[in-house]
Homo-oligomer: 154 residues x 2
DNA sequence: TAAAAAGTGGAACAATCTTTCATGCCTGAA
DNA sequence: TTCAGGCATGAAAGATTGTTCCACTTTTTA
């Protein structure tokens, strides 16, 4: 699916990653191609799904979601269905921003953003530990976000 | 800094979070205000830094960054300067997409994206464990990305 | 080597953004 | 209650930008 990207495509990706609203004319100038070509290239990158989406990065504080936590989860190993059930439940929980199946002492790592600790506790008690197959969780509250969601190094 | 957002502002944020390139006219229609008002509102959200940036989400596979790992880090507690030095070094390492200072058994959690395990091992050996004040690291390789960087629930 | 396919830039056209302006709506003071 | 001030709103004009067309060049394939 992802085709070969030349130097120009990569420069477009890098620039749109920094500013997804950059005008096509500006983009073309910075990449040293004509506006028409730049437009076609960009469109192609979208159609080839090299650019999955262009999204506004909303400041969490502005929408009252200042509390961030990382949660390690261990599942019961009984059925492999429990993994699918757990993942489906995770997808239906909007507070969970990241969920990764990992190798090691945990099965999953979750990244969760909520309003405050009280909200987290409620979420944890009523929605996390009751997720399908959850045996144990360990919560790491984030005290400082040093880097969050940095653009890829293209 | 983040001012009061009414229902309309929040709807704009929610929609731009899904599609940061949505035409202003479309946005206005979906939010039931005029194009002029919508434009002003959106501009205000940018100026108030409620929208930090609009960024293209590049498919990691397309740029050969398919390997994801979560790394827990423990620092020497000796000097508090070592935390600042570590964080500065992290900021200068483009492969580190996330870095959060947490409470618990680890000091930091890192999210790292590289080409493959060989690249990760080189990064780990030559750039991670030599970061200022690092005592110990534990790596969790990601086997499946269930949810990655979901938009906020506004 | 030649034909076909794909990529390129300039220019015209269409669509979009941005500003202006007159109006209406709150808020607070008299 | 009444009035003035500040602020937000929508319609429309003007400025900017995106999109397509075309002739031409480069690359690929047979």
């Amino acid at each position: 699916m992802p085709e070969d990207l030349d130097r120009t495509d990569r420069r477009i990706l890098r620039l749109l990653q920094k500013d997804g609203r950059m005008a096509n004319a500006d983009l073309a100038r910075k990449v040293n191609i004509s506006a028409a070509t730049c437009h076609r290239r960009t469109q192609r990158l979208f159609e080839a799904n090299c650019i999955r989406a262009v999204r506004a990065q909303v400041a969490p504080d502005a929408v009252d979601l200042s509390t961030l936590a990382i949660v390690g989860v261990v599942l019961d190993r009984s059925t492999s269905d429990s993994f699918a059930a757990f993942e489906q439940a995770v997808r239906e929980t909007p507070e969970i921003l990241d969920c990764h199946l990992v190798a090691g002492d945990f099965d999953y790592f979750l990244k969760i953003r909520v309003r405050d600790m009280e909200h987290f506790n409620r979420l944890h008690a009523t929605r996390l530990i009751v997720l399908p197959g959850v045996r144990q969780t360990r919560t790491f509250f984030v005290m400082k976000e040093v880097v969050d969601n940095r653009p890829l190094d293209i």
